[in-house]
């Protein structure tokens, strides 16, 4: 049985063989019949596009695990539909972001499809992170799995899947996502900067207080892999 880690190495190696040295131009396929090209996606991730989009790897790393600071999210293994939708929303400022919006605007539709498919196919190892406060994780786990009757908050896992594993293609995983990123995005919804998912995440975010946000972020950051998620049910 090949491990996810080995599959990742094999896939990445196969892709690397196909890389060219020059950054890619942005051809368009007619009639929306584009079949995602992972090799081309890998080139965009590494080197950006001729139209001026920088390589994603600079912040998100070539394997999609980012740098672990939480300033940038882990995007590896997130569904290509979700990643592409975020890029479109960055470009249209529905999800306004000073860093990502200009980059997304520089990507052509085929670039978005290719690079989203590339990152969706990855399953890199998790970076070593400091141990969070166990009490905080426990509080987050309670809210994530069960919710709070007193506060009228439903479990996050209702939509984000058991252990935050995601409900692809539409709903992203939270398991293993960096705590500062989760907390930051919840606040973006609370304050109205992030306008995608307005009728769900904006409303849920407004139910949460700072302590609950911190607890949820701490919990989801330390959830690991399918085996652990299954065991946590």
């Amino acid at each position: 049985m090949i491990s996810p880690r080995m599959r990742y190495v094999a896939a990445a190696s196969a892709l690397l063989i196909g890389l060219t040295l020059s950054s890619v131009a942005s051809p368009q396929s007619p009639g929306g019949t584009h079949v995602a090209d992972l090799k081309r996606g890998a080139v965009i991730a590494a080197q950006g596009t001729a139209a001026g989009a920088p390589g994603c790897a600079q912040c998100h790393a070539f394997n999609g695990a980012a740098d672990g600071t939480g300033a940038f999210p882990r995007i590896a293994g997130q569904s290509s539909d979700y990643l592409a939708a975020q890029l479109r929303d960055f470009a249209s400022n529905v999800r306004a972001n000073a860093v990502m919006s200009p980059i997304a605007k520089a990507l052509a539709p085929d670039d978005v499809a290719d690079v989203a498919a590339y990152y969706a196919a990855l399953d890199p190892p998790f970076l070593p992170l400091s141990k969070p406060d166990p009490a905080l994780v426990k509080a987050g786990e309670q809210l994530a799995k069960v919710g709070s009757e007193a506060r009228g908050i439903q479990a996050c896992d209702n939509c984000h899947g058991p252990g935050g594993a995601g409900e692809p293609p539409a709903i992203p995983y939270l398991a293993g996502q960096y705590a500062p990123y989760i907390a930051f995005e919840v606040r973006m919804w609370q304050r109205g900067y992030r306008k995608n998912s307005p009728d769900m995440m904006a409303d849920v975010a407004k139910l949460l207080n700072d302590q609950e946000i911190a607890a949820l972020a701490a919990y989801y950051q330390q959830v690991r892999g399918a085996a652990e998620i299954a065991a946590s049910r």
Binding site: K145, V146, G147, S148, E149, G152, I153, Q154, A155, D157, N158, C159, P162, D199, M200, D203, V204, R233
Partner: protein, 592 residues
Amino acid sequence: MAQRLKPVDAVTIGVGLTGSLAAHELTQAGLKVVGLERGAARFTVPDFQSPAIHDELRFSIRKGMMQDNTKVAVTFRNNSSETALPIRRWASFLPGQGLGGSFVHWNGQSFRAQVADFIYRTHLIERYGKKFLDACGPELTVQDWGVAYDELEPHYDRFEYLIGVSGKAGNIKGAIQPGGNPFEAPRSREYPNPPMKETYFGAIFRKAVDDLGYHPYPQPSSNLSRPYINPLGLKLNACVFCGFCERYACEHFAKGSPQTAILPVLLKNPNYELRTNCEVLRINLDSSGKKATGVTYVDGAGREFEQPAEVVFVTAFPLNNVRTLLLSGVGKPYDPNTGEGTVGRNYTYQTTGGPTVFMDASINVNPFMSSGAPGTMIDDFGGDNFDHSNLGFIGGQYVGSIMTGGRPIEFHPTPPGTPAWGLEWKRAVARHYNHAILVQQHGTSAPSRLNYLDLDPTYKDARGQPLLRMTFDFPENDVRMSQYIAHKVVEIGRAMGGKIVTRGGIKRPYTTTVYQSTHNCGGAVMGDDPKTSVVNRYQQCWDVPNVFSLGGSSFPQNITYNYSVTIGALTLWSLDAIKKQYLKSPGPMVQA
């Protein structure tokens, strides 16, 4: 020997929609109220959370939220020449059990009845003549309700705002509103929330019925379209279209229910005491038989108690309301041979069923993205909205594209002629799962002197009390009605682009083995005349005036629509009168 408890002002038998609503009104008026619920306590958190709540095997197939019919079943037969047998697997209808009752697992389809519904007999005779009505079936026992729509309107309004119904008004104070149902009864104002998003199957239906000249509108829904704070200060959330609504509880605080809209306030009221796992055996009457002294119940440990109360509210599922009255000797049981007696009389149901419209494989319906009340509908064939003069039947049905989910165990649409198992079946399911649209017909059920409820002479429950016996078949009138509409609906299915369109409508005999509706109606009906009704216009028992029997059991016959919102309005109407009149001077509120 039952232990006698401290007397209270009022007791409710059952804590579902009517039980929690009545208790809320009474405790607000300062009364001490005890709620006796046969099932367990349960709340949105932790009991309704995912993934456990999406267990289709447990809740849809094994009926995890329903009355435990290994202990208390209902016996059934089609007519009084047969021997009734207990229903040990719920299928046709699904009475709920547990705190919140059936109002937890309901779909949230939230209609008002029409003006004519409440004066049905008067209306039909005025429009078509008595001869016409008799010709539809001499066995039919259609009657008026004793309450008029205008009297109920403020209570409909209050109830809709309590549970946060999402919809588009079609008639505000007589002015027809674009986008709403032009056939609806006049309402005093808009719904508290805008309608739900239209589904793709709804949009396909809308285009077809628009082209055919009908009047599409969004189904009013108590799965909420946006976050909402109700008049009690309780916050409900927006529905996420998870597709697990009917037969399930909502994990998102997004469905109007006792748990989301009433109980959090009621349970904090010091005048209220909830006792769960407490099964009422009977209402106790004094030696005159004209006054209730309280109830006798058994708690979860098997101990028997007598709870004295000044007023008793029968607030169980409609079938259980009737059984409780029969077991307690409140009112005279109906005798189908003489037509005398009232308890059990005018039991009605709901006429349902509709076609499956099999679409081209290029149409991706995505039925799993749905809610309990996601329909796009027409009311052109509802109630008496069309001329029946030359049709030979009374009644009607609404028609709508209403798919409440595409759950994997239950939903396998295959065209007629497909084998029921094996490779060909699998291929057909794969071909049609995401390319089939269900169109619902849902409508009136005419009362008949042949259909009734009584106590079974043979079968008993786990405590040795007789089961309720149901004697029911659809009157020929209802078959003619639903088949007439079925023909129109096949035309709609073709206009939707259906490659294959099956035909709906009901047939005789009625069977309890296929799900149809949980709108069991009547048996303790309301009216002006004690000879033909168990309760008066305030749902107060004629024979025992300190017993009120609330809910669907009061409907003299069933209407076109899902009945929950009308039950809510009737409850508030009764409680309003009780607070203003009865509490000041207990006794009959209407002189017989």
